[in-house]
Every structure is written in structure tokens, then in C-alpha cells.
Symmetry: none
Subunit: 401 residues, 2 copies
């Protein structure tokens, strides 16, 4: 198999443009009454027309039977073997709140929680306090001073915040303090390697001071920390593919991943119509665009079949605005399936289509799970998508003489 390092040798710059529309959790399963999946149930004339002009297939994000998290699903789409590149969700969340993570920084996810007088956790999420309250509490925590490190506490949403420790010689090899269930006492953070001992002391000192500071807060009187991690060494999309890439994503986590991979983050507004407008405004300045659509996944996770169908129709309605730009290569797929009947991410292969002047169209004229089985690309690993897109954009040299 061609590795990402070898793609670097083959890639070259050219004026063609590539657009990836990632419809999160797009794959589904048949509705028990109609026998049709969400995609098969939706009115989607634009997706179907593109399918008839595309080469289609089904992707395995990580591997057969493997249900991907959001990060591995997207890493694969951008050509990073998700088994080889393990990016902690904590790191991605940090990048997604527009915090710049420096090399050596330690980041962790935090929850505001409540504990009783014995120190036992009564609510891991402190009743999902308001984001406003979260901002207020983070301001308090930011006053904590620890010897030898800078402490940065940043609110995310509701009860969630991010802690960054910035200093010399820190290590992320630490256990969590969050026991992941109520009724227990928060754990002491332990070093998983000798060089992490100093960081463990610092983290425990932070938690101690946070508890002391919040002691009299009725809504949230303690913090739970998990997922200590460091910015991973990962080659960027500009480095590997010689692309100048940009991301248009409404949700923080996808912006975070995109930033980690070297993409410029463009304004995304609140919905797909805003995203298409942003694509138009910036189309001249980049040669690769990652447009991320979230609500198909959210409605799938809600188990709301009809709402997921409507989300698909919402994307379909927005497509003419993207097609106006006539990108040299247009890829439409998802990072995994999220069948509404399962109400969670799943392992099922994901419909895929690629349209370009140089694709070899097949007989598929509908964008759905069943129709894509007959696609010209068959079933293939998602990690191959980028090389296919690069080839179709005529941005890859010949391999060998």
C-alpha cells in the first residue's frame, strides 16, 4: 500500500480545485416499516444527478465492522490511516475552541460537577449548568497560580471546559480524575511513566485549588479531568499534498481537526446555506475545501428517522449553490454511518461519489447505500479517498518508470 509519505513524493501543485462535502453520519439502515434507508427516503434530486455523473462506491472508514469515532472517520477521509494516527479527542476539542495549542502544551477535557460533603460525585455534569455560568466559573479558575506552569482554563459549552498547562518538561501520560460515573470519589491523577510525575503533581494541585475555590458554589463545586494529551506529530495537508486547504465547519470539533491538519478555518455561519456562501466568497483563495454538514449525524443519534431525512433534503437543497462553482473534483460522502434505527455511529460502509472531468462514471444514478454497491469503485478503504481526489485533479505524478 502507498503510504502518506509516498504520496508526498507524488503530489504537485496545479490550479485545479477539490471540494469535499462531508455529510456526517450519512449512511443509514432501512426503516422497519418502509424498508427504505434515510437516504432512500429523502427527496434528493441533486444528489442523484451528481451520482449519475460520478464514479460511486462504498467506503469503510476504519475497517470492516469497525464503528469510527468522529476523529478517526475524518482522519481517514483526509488520507491519514486512523489506526496509525491516534489523535485524542481532547486535543481536537481544544483546537476547535480556537485555542492555539503549542508544542509541549498539555491539554485535558474538564467537567464542572457536584460532590457531596463526603466528596462523592452527585452529578458528573453539574446539572448541565448554563454556558454563561461556565464562563463565570472558568474566570475564577483562571486565577489559579501553579509553580512553573501557565494555567489556561477555557469554557466550551454547558459544563465542559478545557485545561491547558503550558511549561517545560510536561508529559500527558496521566490517568483521569473522572471516574465516568456518579457515586464515586474523583480519582487522584497518577503518572503513567516516571517523566510524568511532575505533571501529575501539578494536575492534582490544580484540582485541589479548583475544589477549594469552588467550594461554596452551589451549582458546581468540583471539576473532573480526563484525556490528558499533547498535540500529536502529524504531517499536514499542505506538507503532504502541496494543497492550500480550507475548512468550512459549523462545529468546533471539526474545525479543530481541520486546523490540526493545516487547514485555514473559514467562517461557516450557522447552517449549510451560510457555508455555501462562505465557499463562494473564498473560492479563489484555496485549492481544497472541506465542507462539513453535521445535523444528519445529530438526528441519527437522536434516533429521529424523519428528522434525518429532512436534514438530507436540506443538504440536497443547498447543492446547486456548490455546483455553480463547478469544482474540478467534487467528493460527497460521510465519515461513518449513523442509522436512526440504531441511534448511534455504526460500522456500515458509507455511500461515496466523486465527480470530475476524469472520473469514469458507472451505472449508479442514485446516491444511496444500496445503489452505491454497484459503483465503479466498489467497496474501498476511506484512506484511499485523498489519492483518488488528487489523481482526478491531475495533482499526482506517475509512480515509477
Amino acid at each position: 500500500m502507498i503510504l502518506i509519505e509516498q504520496l508526498k513524493e507524488l503530489s504537485y501543485k496545479s490550479p485545479s480545485r477539490i471540494v469535499f462535502l462531508i455529510i456526517d453520519g450519512i449512511g443509514g439502515l432501512p426503516h422497519p416499516e418502509t424498508g427504505k434507508t434515510e437516504l432512500e427516503s429523502a427527496k434528493k434530486p441533486n444528489l442523484n444527478r451528481i451520482a449519475s455523473e460520478s464514479v460511486c462506491g462504498l467506503i469503510d472508514p476504519v475497517g470492516a465492522g469497525i464503528t469510527p469515532g468522529s476523529a478517526p472517520g475524518h482522519l481517514a477521509i483526509f488520507g491519514y490511516d486512523p489506526v496509525r494516527y491516534d489523535v485524542g479527542r481532547g486535543i481536537i476539542e481544544v483546537l476547535g475552541i480556537d485555542m492555539e495549542l503549542k508544542a509541549g502544551d498539555i491539554a485535558a477535557r474538564g467537567n464542572f460537577c457536584t460532590i457531596d460533603s463526603r466528596g462523592i460525585i452527585t452529578d458528573r455534569r453539574a446539572g448541565r449548568i448554563s454556558t454563561e455560568k461556565n464562563y463565570e466559573l472558568c474566570q475564577i479558575l483562571n486565577k489559579i497560580a501553579l509553580r512553573g506552569v501557565e494555567v489556561l482554563v477555557t469554557p466550551v459549552k454547558e459544563h465542559r471546559f478545557v485545561l491547558i498547562l503550558r511549561g517545560e518538561g510536561l508529559s500527558p501520560e496521566l490517568t483521569d480524575s473522572d471516574p465516568q460515573q456518579a457515586g464515586m470519589i474523583p480519582g487522584k491523577i497518577e503518572a503513567l511513566s516516571p517523566q510524568a510525575r511532575k505533571t501529575a503533581e501539578i494536575a492534582n494541585e490544580f484540582i485541589l485549588q479548583a475544589g477549594a475555590t469552588l467550594k461554596n458554589e452551589p451549582s458546581a463545586n468540583m471539576v473532573l479531568m480526563r484525556g490528558f494529551s499533547q498535540r500529536p506529530a502529524i504531517p499536514t495537508i499542505p506538507e503532504i499534498y502541496m494543497l492550500n486547504p480550507a475548512a468550512i465547519a459549523v462545529y468546533p470539533m471539526y474545525r479543530g481537526l481541520a486546523r490540526l491538519l493545516g487547514m485555514q478555518i473559514l467562517p461557516a455561519g450557522n447552517n449549510i446555506a451560510d457555508q455555501v456562501r462562505s465557499l463562494h466568497s473564498h473560492y479563489g483563495n484555496y485549492d481544497f475545501f472541506f465542507v462539513h454538514f453535521k445535523s444528519t449525524d445529530s438526528r441519527g443519534e437522536d434516533g429521529d428517522f424523519e428528522a434525518k431525512v429532512r436534514a438530507i433534503e436540506e443538504v440536497d437543497n443547498a447543492l446547486p449553490g456548490m455546483l455553480d462553482l463547478n469544482p474540478d473534483v467534487l467528493v460527497i460522502t460521510g465519515d461513518h454511518s449513523t442509522p436512526a434505527t440504531l441511534a448511534m455511529h455504526s460500522w456500515h460502509p458509507v455511500p461515496f461519489m466523486l465527480r470530475s472531468k476524469w472520473c469514469r462514471p458507472d451505472e449508479v444514478d442514485e446516491f444511496s447505500e444500496r445503489a452505491c454497491v454497484a459503483g465503479g469503485l466498489g467497496r474501498f478503504p476511506a484512506v484511499n479517498i485523498m489519492s483518488l481526489a488528487m489523481a482526478n485533479a491531475l495533482k499526482l505524478k506517475k509512480f515509477g518508470a
Copy 2:
């Protein structure tokens, strides 16, 4: 995945015969007016009939989106992972002019060129001098004597020749003298490692003497050298598969590759009809035949859609002569696609079919890109072809107890 070393453990000799017909660059793209590919446009009753009796599919020579050179494309077909086995084109060209390359020999490709009085290259190909002139100049160069090595200069075609340096302790880790464009002075050959220093001196001395010898030749007064390389350590087809293989290829480069892999080189004449006659004459003496058809690729690279269609029809016409022999296993495919619309090698999967008493035929009754999508083998890596062929020839033992 099963490695070539493991196939060696499973292979055994048996009387069955395998024939590979490799139609170079066979895969194509739709004609903009008809919407049909070269294969879909050609009259090919024999190819279609074989398809209806075969198990079909589409192969990826190197990987998704990767456009293979001729050497990697063929290596994959014979079961050698082309990412693992990197054979320099210089080496293959040497083998293709019926020069036996000994272990330790250094080979390089040479161009006769012209330089002006300041030493600047005016024509990298010396106006493509006649092959006769080339022979004459090579005879002159063969008189060059260098201390400690034997110098062998062999003409190829037009302005191209091959230099072999034979001696002790030589290394191919050298830069080129050929700057790949006119208007520049030929480079001095530099050693890329300390152990190549002696070889660099020898190569520079060869170029110096060649320039002095050719000084007064009006048609070609200098040489340009590139691609210094050594015969790679690569296990042969007889070693791995216990086969007694033979190649029937008109073009030197394919004979060269076949010889490197341990095949006997049989007379090929000038066209596919000659090749089929040669197959008949030698059918009793070997159990594996590689028949290589070139002009589909050449016409594709010319961008001549109609001529590529005619080349396909030429192969189809010759097929009854091959079918007369009723080989136990017949494989028909290509080493890569060469769509006439692109006028170059491409990354598109290549139609594949395998006919044997023991294949499991599918519904495909046409040999074309779109029809083979529905083949029983789906889309698969070309490196798997040999084990499929060996299995169908009942030449592979069971794996494991």
C-alpha cells in the same frame, strides 16, 4: 495479506499451463461524444465470449488513485508488491537489449547529444540520430579503456545507448550528468555516498573520454548519462511459484522485466499474430506464458481513440489462435489504463478476467470497464492476480492445517 515469501511455501509443480495476455494500457475513459470507452466501442466478440466464461473484476495496479509506470504495473501483475520492489527503468532497459547484467555491474542510460563550443547542450537527443549512426558511435565509445573496470557500450534506438561498468567495488549511488533540458552544461557526476566515490571518478572519466573521442562528430559530440543502477535482489518466478515461465514480448522493456523475473525470452516477431505463432511453437516447453501486447498503450498515449479501438480489435482477432491451445488458466488484463482522452497512463482500475475449469463465472458477458464492475472478483489489488492464477491452475497448497 499473504506475502510473496509465503506463496513460495504454498506453490508446487503440476502439468497445468497458465497464459497471461497483458493488453498494455487497456483501460480507458468514455469518448466525449459517444459516452463509450475504447473497449466499449471496439468489436470484440472473442473478448466478450471469454468474459462470459470467466470470473471478472477490476484491478488496482499499485493503489487507488496511483498512476503506475510500466515497471510497477507489470511487477504487480506477477505478484511483486511494486511499492516494495523498486526496479529502475535503466536496469530494465539493459535487460531488454539482451544484455546479461551480472551482480555488481553498474548500468546507466545514455543519450548522444550535441553541445556548442561553450559546452552548453543544444540538443539532448542529437536530432534523434539514426540507429545506424548510434551503432557506429557506440563502437567508437567501446574503445574507451578505464583502469580497473570493463566498459560496455550498447546501442538501443536512435540517440539512446546503455553503459555498463563491470568491476569490483562499484556503487550506483551517483547523480546524473543529464540536466534533462537543453541550454545547460552537463553536470559532473557526484557520489551520493562515500563508497560511490571511486565509481563517480570512473563515470566522469568515461564522459571526459567520450567527449574527447566524439569532439569532431558533427551529429553528436557529447553523451548525457542518467539512472545509474544495479540489478536488484528480487526473487524469480521459478523460485517463488515453481514455474517454468516464458515471455513473448515485442518491446525491449517488457522482455527486460521478464528476464529479470526469471522468464525465458521467446521470439515475438513484430505483431500479435507472430506472438500467437510463437506461443503455439513453444507451448509444450513451459507452464507459464506472458504475452505482452503494446499498441493499445501506444495509441492511448498518442490520444488516438479510434486507433486504440482498432488495436483492441487486432487483439480480439488474434484470440482464437490462443484459445485453440485451451490453456488451463487464461488471464486477460492490462498493467494500467491509458485513456485516449487523457493521452497518458492513468490511475483508473483495469478490467480483468480469468478463465479456467475452476473459476466461478459471474454475470459479466462483456469485457469492459463498466461491465467488469459487476464481476465476481470486484475491485482488487493487481498483486493478487498471481495467487488467483496459481490457485485456478491447482498449483497452490492449502494454507494451514
